[in-house]
Amino acid sequence: MTKYVGQSVARKDANEKVTGQALYAFDIDYIPNMLIGKFLTSTIAHGKILSIDTTEAEKLPGVVAIVTGKDWPVKIGLYAGDRDILAVEKVVWIGQPVVAVAAESETIAEEALSLVKIKYDPLKPIFDPVEAMSSKDRLVHEKMADYNHSPAFHPIPGTNIANHFKLRKGNIDHGFKQADEIFEYEYSMPQISHAYLEPIVSIGHYRKDGTIVVWSSAQSPFTVRYLLGITFATQTSNITVKSPFLGGGFGGKAGLNFEPLAVLLSRKANNRPVKLSLTREENFKSAPIRVGMVAKLKTGVTKKGKITAQQVEYIWDSGACADYAVNVGRAAGYVSIGPYDIENIKSDSYTVYTNKPYATAFRGFGHLELHWVIERQNDIIAKKLGIDPLIFRKINTLKPGTGITGNQHRLREDAGCIDECLDKVWSELKKNKEKTTPLKPWIFRGIGIAGFMKGPAQPPNSASSAYVKFNEDGSAIVSIGTSEMGQGTITSLAQIAADELGLPIEKIKIRGDRDTDRDAYTWQTVGSRSLFMDGNAVKNACLNAKDQIFDTASQVLRVPKKDLVIKNELISPRGEPWKHLSISEVVMGYMYPTGESIGGPVIGHGKYIAKMTILDSETGAGNPAIFETFGAQGVEIELDALTGKITINKLISAFDIGKAINPQLCEGQVIGGSVMALSIAMSEQLQYSDTGELLNPSFVDYIISRPGDIPKEFITHFIENPQEDGPYGARGIGELTMIGVPAALGNAIADAMNVDIFDLPITSERVWTEIQKQRPEIIASLKEKLMEEEK
């Protein structure tokens, strides 16, 4: 019986955030001699840099340093070293930083940059990812062969292809021969901005003794530390990365972004700390965004509804650098065809360079995108075959013990159940479907469902660790590496520690800011991995702490270690609670009445490492993930055929998360994730001119959801089929709450009016246009009705 796990415990960071005491990177202004950093960016999408003249700028009083690419021409990148800190030989997107300045004030910095003169020799840019994939003469990275890259990825030098992931299973031609019907459609979605509330801030301090300190809005401070060590050719222990609370990340702060530039400025500015605070426009144009996608899916199916073949091509528009996006392509590649058991699969996932802002991780990591494709097509097929959408899916879903990748890594028996999720959502959709007729004849109602899965996309040696140390009053401090970016994981980890240690949750301290010198290591805060991986590490650390505590207590109480338990801060033999020691008597060392002391300060430590394999480069076979969280989502909508406007009446979700450690936090993830996904599905898109200029780098023109867009009703089910190797049976949820929404919406529109949409965003303009195109007879009959009413 757990006291805290399973309860909606109040967030550990709620008070300081709500009272304004919480510090974010922008609030860090107490470092002596700090300067303000600022950069200017490329005005063309592709071109050689002929000259940079900074002489006038250098003369301006208050300017301490001006930096150009040539000052440190080391290429950076997470999986492929393809990005300049500041453009060196050429510029590859409008928004790419070219020159940076460190000055005594922001105004001086901006004035200095206005005095810099740059000459470019324009090259022909390429913007369309499909064109870019086959282009041999317009190359974004013609020197790709010289770049370092992780062996997990397969770039093709001489092209714009940063990575090609292949999944091969069975025999695709054989599969299509077995099919009674074949369906083939194309799908797309644009690049998207993360639109996190807190713009990126990075402070770099390259100190005179050669050590480097960084404060940054970073989801993965340990990765930042590691890559800074490589970039500046210094050992990891010479670098400290601190990341305060993050105001949202969603993957946009997951990698290495502006830290190298801030450090480089500091190095040239007499080793003074330099603070780079990005404006919102800079976040749109210069900071990374989410991939765009173009896809082609060809499905072979028997008339009874069994899918015999899936052939898919995903093309990921990665912008000018591939950063995380090669992994997005890989992750989408190894899942490829959704939570289904298909005999014959041929899947190719290409991450492609274009001359646009560069892509990084984004919540969903290729899975939101791929399920748009798979789940839309499933509905189209089901309708054509005359099979119920739920039944069609269940004919093909994965069952425990079946394989998900090419050469059959089999799902664990306790992997969770996609069918249960689908059943739950479908029954809620049907049960709650509005029975009354719409008030107006131009309002149509529809329901739509989507099933999906996701596991953390990590390297096979991804690891987490934790330590627990105690204070004199028996309270404890738990240290982990997971960042707090609003998702609330640290609260769940505190709950686990409280239950494991037998302490009240008020006596567990867990910090929301990160410091790579102080904190236990975790790989990154991404991929919905933290609760599972760090949770296991915390559990192990608590077990280790208890072992040390019991070592001492067993001597004092004269009872075997294995008989001891901790409950309500008291250590006692099982069944004899009157024979006890308090935790505070033991955790700093125990002193006998005569003065002899034994034990000492307890520091419990724990670790957890992933259980995965490398994937075969030809077939994609292997074990790609430590768990798959299954889920289903559905929507009930009302559609105005005259304006294309859609109202979401109900948003229904079911996730098999194994154990809801904190149900309220889980619900928070569902509401936040669903609304974010609806926003992406219905209104968000980065739009470019034909010269590659971002046309909507502000929230005036980049449309995100507002409170009035939130669905009227949420119905959420957390299914708890526990996964034995997760902490208390839990899997991850963070990204899952987004994934099914776009396809569910597309399917609901098709249900409402028999209109099929293949491209996001589903704006009212697009809906209206497609209704006119696909259902002109409905518009005609509505017009007739309206004219009659006029008479």
Partner: protein
Amino acid sequence: MNNSISFSSLPKFNLITPSSLKEALELLDQYQNKARLLAGGTDLLIELRHRLIQPKVLINLKMIPELQTIKITEQELKIGAVTPIIEVLTIPIIKEEYLALYQSLAD
């Protein structure tokens, strides 16, 4: 236009606040195209920040009573340049007779 820098600061300008329409017009006469008018500022401040314009003087209209009135007659609706939008929305006749205006202000 210099779109290579995302400015946070505004360029230097003098802010003058006339207290009557007459004064404001005299100032416009004096500064000609070196001055811009500041009412709500939602467009102006963005243009300033982006360095699309660099006026020497901003003439602040917010303290001019003649520009804050709403006049409704049989024939016309006159809304002063510095009238807050919220004030316009509270007048019943706007919603009754000028629905498109009301909807675009209210959204």
